[in-house]
């Protein structure tokens, strides 16, 4: 049972406050992903869990023991670094053996574990090589192998895939996922790539400026982002936002901006109502590109808007349209078989169930 618990965790570098009051419980065997833009404090949090950075205030518990003062070597964790940090003067086998040797494992057991880990990762033929004789993907595997042989309580990953090319990254992502299912060890994974976060995480922590924005399962973050930042960060292409005024017009809640008038559907209308104070409450309306399509006969005019096409990006599986709606730019992802050209004027329909509203000041979701 290896739970990791962070309580009111803070980190200052001199006077800069980089991690602010992080509270988090990572369950046993869970794959937890920290995601956020660079400088959001995710890596610092990971390094505090590893014991590489001292904690400024708050507690880190591994298996209910506070480890704030425990040096990294005594925490029984393994970490995969962004640049792999393979020992350049040691062979692959020695790299993997190092942690076990340090812990005074008997020789045959070390050999045994290396063999097993190498088989899992398919690097048996590389064991005699030096790191600089390996390709990026192979180094990545060795770094993973070095972590696996240790059989630690917790795996830590610091952007391990960011140095790989796009194709290899997708491949390694799949392997990491399989590996976690096979080993079932608590894992904490830091990335700036929301796709990695969505695909790998059992749960995802979104951070910005040292503050946790939302913790939840990937779909939860996608469907019900807690604030405008999470909404914009998760999902690709990013969610469209428009500044609107919402008002009650004859029992219907309507969101308006120049060139745009949308009637909010039932549940969202109800939530919006609780935030309304008088006529013309300002709000931010959000809709994902994939929740927009070219309007057909079945679409109610309540959820439609007039758009002018500025750029057409044919991706094969979909078309991304950059369109202008009044003052706002709206990106839509539409059926690849629709014929559209630049400067076409067309009517787009929004999926009303998938509209989001945010408070323009606090950026919190309605």
């Amino acid at each position: 049972m290896a739970e990791v618990t962070l309580t009111k965790l803070n980190k200052y570098f001199d006077t800069t406050h980089v991690v602010k009051d992080v509270d988090l419980q990572i369950r046993d065997k869970e794959f937890m992903v920290f995601v956020g833009p660079s400088g959001c404090g995710k890596t610092t949090t990971l390094r505090m869990i590893a014991g590489l950075e001292a904690v400024s205030s708050g507690d880190i518990r591994i298996e209910n023991t506070v480890v704030n003062q425990v040096p990294p070597m005594d925490r029984d964790i393994a970490m995969v670094f962004q640049n792999y940090a393979l020992y350049p003067h040691m062979s692959v086998a020695s790299n993997m053996a190092f942690g076990l040797k340090m812990r005074k494992f008997p020789r045959d057991q070390i050999q045994d574990r290396i063999k097993r880990a190498a088989a899992i990762l398919g690097i048996e033929n590389l064991l005699g090589r030096k790191p600089r004789q390996l390709s990026g993907g192979q180094r990545q595997r060795v770094a993973l192998g070095r972590a696996i042989v240790r059989d630690p309580k917790v795996f830590l990953f610091d952007e391990p895939l960011s140095n790989l090319d796009a194709k290899l990254r997708v491949q390694m992502r799949v392997e990491l996922k399989k590996l976690h299912e096979r080993l079932a060890v608590t894992s904490i994974y830091v990335t700036h790539d929301q796709v990695e976060a969505m695909t790998l995480g059992d749960r995802v922590v979104v951070m910005r400026d040292g503050v946790v924005q939302q913790v939840g399962e990937p779909l939860e973050l996608y469907n019900r982002p807690a604030n405008r930042f999470v909404a914009g960060f998760i999902g690709s292409p990013a969610m469209n936002f428009a500044d609107v005024t919402i008002s009650d017009q004859g029992g219907k809640v309507v969101a308006e901006a120049t060139g745009l008038k949308i009637v909010l559907p039932g549940e969202l209308a109800a939530r919006a109502r609780t935030h309304m104070n008088g006529a013309g409450t300002r709000a931010t309306l959000g809709i994902r590109p994939e929740d927009i399509h070219v309007a057909g006969a079945a679409d109610s005019p309540d959820h439609c808007l007039e758009a002018e096409v500025e750029v057409v990006e044919q991706l094969g599986s979909e078309i991304l349209l950059d369109t202008r709606v009044g003052q706002a730019l709206v990106v839509a992802s539409i059926d690849p078989n629709v014929r559209v050209r630049t400067h076409d004027k067309l009517k787009l329909a929004l999926n009303p169930e998938r509209l989001h509203l945010f408070d323009p000041e606090t950026e919190k979701a309605f």
Partner: protein, 310 residues
């Protein structure tokens, strides 16, 4: 209209013929290397050959002398002062190098972390290496002065000694005193060079080793030391050669005394060749240094190559 193409001409002006020649890489390289070749040929290659001739002659100041074969070297073979200087040179080089490496590496590790005023500390630490050796050595000679020594005063008042120590007058102590000064002057060079080497080792490696369970001592020997080895070897190479051929320190501190007990190759060569005017004999002493230097360089370069290939 017929256009006559002028090969190589870009603008309207025809380049000078010798400038055109410089477009050939080999000619350009030859031209660029010429001044260096002349100076080095005239003042390194020529004196080297001249030195060999001198050592094989019986020349004195003002007397070109005659060829005498290996007579000078035979004489050295029977010269006990010469053997003392050979022994001194090896002892001096070995002891100072070990200490300079150990202390320099220690200092480099102390500097390889973040603390306030690091830049200033680093700048000041290099001073012993920057300041002209002869001048700073005089400060040491004054500190070692038997009658007025501040070191004696300090040791006495701390209760370590009862009577004065004659630092430079006692043959066995004199060498030690010189060694101390050489270490003092050399440690900054080691520290700053090794610090640069340390900074090329990714801190991630140390972190990875820490997570792998290595204690600081193990991290040093298993990660830092092997990775620093190539830089260490080059620094050692420079230092060993400089120390082996050292002159200034001994010249100022003891002049080879007391009773010729602290001579090195260079100071002994100076004493014979310039001091007493026996140019040929002095050149022979200097030249006797060459095979040793040559061996040191070859061994170290081979070792460096092996270390770097790993």
């Amino acid at each position: 209209m017929a256009v006559t193409a002028v090969p190589g001409m870009v603008g309207g002006r025809q380049p000078l013929p010798w400038m055109r020649k410089l477009e050939d890489e080999r000619w350009l390289a030859f031209t660029l290397l010429l001044p260096t070749a002349i100076l080095l040929g005239l003042f390194i290659a020529y004196p080297f050959v001249e030195g060999i001739f001198l050592a094989l002659s019986d020349a004195r100041v003002g007397d070109p002398g005659h060829f005498v074969g290996l007579k000078n070297f035979a004489k050295l073979w029977d010269d006990s002062i010469f053997w003392t200087s050979v022994w001194n040179t090896f002892w001096y080089t070995a002891v100072t190098t070990v200490f300079k490496l150990a202390l320099g590496l220690w200092l480099a590790m102390l500097l390889n972390r973040h603390f306030r005023g690091k830049a200033i500390v680093r700048a000041f630490i290099l001073l012993p290496f920057i300041i002209p050796t002869v001048l700073s050595t005089f400060a040491w000679k004054w500190m070692f002065d038997p009658t007025f020594s501040v070191i004696n005063w300090t040791l006495f008042n701390l209760g370590f000694i009862k009577a004065r120590i004659n630092w430079l007058g006692d043959p066995s102590l004199a060498m030690t005193s010189i060694i101390v000064v050489n270490i003092w002057r050399g440690v900054p060079f080691f520290a700053i060079s090794l610090l640069a080497g340390l900074q090329t080792i990714s801190p991630e490696l140390n972190e990875a080793a820490a997570i792998d369970g290595a204690r600081p001592w193990a991290r040093f020997w298993l990660i830092t030391w092997p990775l620093l080895l190539p830089v260490t070897m080059v620094v050692m190479l420079f230092s060993v050669i400089q120390t082996f051929a050292d002159f200034q320190l001994v010249y100022v501190m003891t002049g080879g005394g007391p009773a010729n007990a602290t001579h090195l190759f260079a100071t002994y060569a100076y004493q014979i060749g310039i001091g007493t005017g026996l140019l040929s004999q002095g050149a022979a002493v200097s030249l006797a240094m060459f095979p040793f230097l040559f061996l040191i360089v070859v061994i170290q370069l081979l070792y460096i190559r092996r270390v770097e290939v790993r």
